[in-house]
């Protein structure tokens, strides 16, 4: 009797479940035995990552699928080249337009032309050039991460590109350290002279003398230079922090955190390059006499009085014998 009851129950169960099983078929009508098995969608409902158990000590290897990685790759391969290209080429185009419409800002000669005033001492110039030379290599090797395989590899071939990219990567990782040190040096050296004040607002309202013929008053650094300073300090520290998190993987954050760091690093990087292109332009081609400040360290007194009048007065007040003279400089008669 008990056996009969069991058989009847089994038959009833099969009768109830059979139609359901029979309905699970592939699109072509063939039976699909794995249709009800665990799939990716079901796993993602339980956890944002798909991971398993592994026996090797590298715990990070247990991750099988991390969906944010697809979004990061999409950003890096699709969006980043356009953002980078627009930022860098856009700035070059804007500077070219500015040069051809406004022209080079010429040195205005006066009776004080020829006299020199020390603008940056040796250590200031050293700090600037160490940071700048590292920045150029970091920029080129950084742009190579985005554009190298697209623009350079078709020109020089995969073997040469692989070698170049490898040495570019070494340069990027190792020159980052003197760059960060240089940013810290400049922060300590110049922070006091870069505190924004009311005079900067007036300078900005007058277009900094770039748009017209007026030369608004400025201290040691004008509002434009202060913006470059804070950009270099802010972006430099941000690039350093995000870069260190990538140089030491998993030390401070997980794989998703490192992807976020890479996005921030690359976005700031291209804006940083664009900003420094403007800085290079105005410090060399854009303004006559400006390069001398970081070249020899001494600038023409006439130039200094036009562009940094308040600073010149401050310096002259410090010395009873008139303007500061550079090493071995004799006032022009």
């Amino acid at each position: 009797m008990r056996r009969l009851t069991s058989l009847l129950l089994l038959a009833a169960t099969l009768a109830l479940t059979a139609p359901a099983v029979a309905q699970v078929r592939a699109p072509d009508g063939a039976p699909n035995p794995t249709a009800s098995s665990v799939n990716e969608e079901m796993l993602f409902k339980q956890d944002p990552k798909i991971h398993g158990r592994i026996s090797i000590p590298n715990a990070t290897a247990a991750n099988l699928i991390q969906p944010q990685g697809r979004e990061w790759r999409e950003f890096r391969e699709s969006w980043m080249p356009w953002i980078g290209g627009l930022a860098v080429l856009g700035m070059i185009a804007a500077l070219g337009l500015f040069y051809f419409t406004r022209g080079r800002i010429r040195l205005e000669h006066s009776e004080e032309s020829g006299k020199k005033i020390l603008r940056f001492n040796s250590f200031e110039r050293f700090s600037h050039w160490m940071t700048a030379s590292c920045f150029i290599v970091l920029s080129l090797s950084g742009l190579n991460y985005i554009f190298g395989k697209r623009l350079l590899m078709p020109l020089i071939g995969p073997e040469a590109f692989a070698t170049l990219a490898q040495y570019g990567k070494y340069a990027h990782i190792y020159l980052a350290w003197p760059f960060m040190l240089g940013v810290l040096f400049m922060l300590v050296l110049w922070v006091r002279d870069n505190i924004p004040g009311r005079i900067d607002w007036i300078w900005l309202k007058q277009g900094g003398g770039l748009l017209g013929d007026a030369h608004p008053s400025a201290g040691r650094f004008n509002a434009g230079q202060k913006m470059v300073f804070w950009m270099v300090v802010g972006f430099g520290l941000a690039m350093g922090a995000t870069g260190i998190m990538m140089i030491f993987p998993f030390a401070a954050t997980d794989i998703n955190g490192m992807q976020v760091m890479q996005v921030i690093h690359s976005l700031i990087g291209v804006v940083f390059i664009a900003g420094i292109l403007a800085h290079i332009y105005i410090g060399s081609l854009g303004m006559e006499g400006a390069y001398d400040a970081m070249g020899s360290g001494e600038v023409d007194l006439a130039w200094a009085k036009v562009h940094h009048d308040l600073w010149v007065k401050e310096q002259q007040a410090k010395t009873a014998s008139g303007p500061q003279l550079g090493r071995g400089q004799v006032p022009a008669e």
């Binding site: 050293f126 700048a132 990782i173 350290w177």
Partner: protein, 70 residues
Amino acid sequence: MKAFLVAVAAAVVLATAASFLLAENQRFAYQAFATSGARVSDPGTNLVGPRWTGDIKEPASASHKMEAGS
């Protein structure tokens, strides 16, 4: 110009020092993930060859095998 040249030289020296410090801090996966219970072999000689060329029968490894066999 002098400040520029000194700055470039300092950058190279600091970068070289950073390369040595970072190398000190870094270990190959076969070193990092080997434990007392799991020996991870050096992939530099058993998968891609000592020069990462894919040729695992280069003179160095061949002579090493001969020595091991004798």
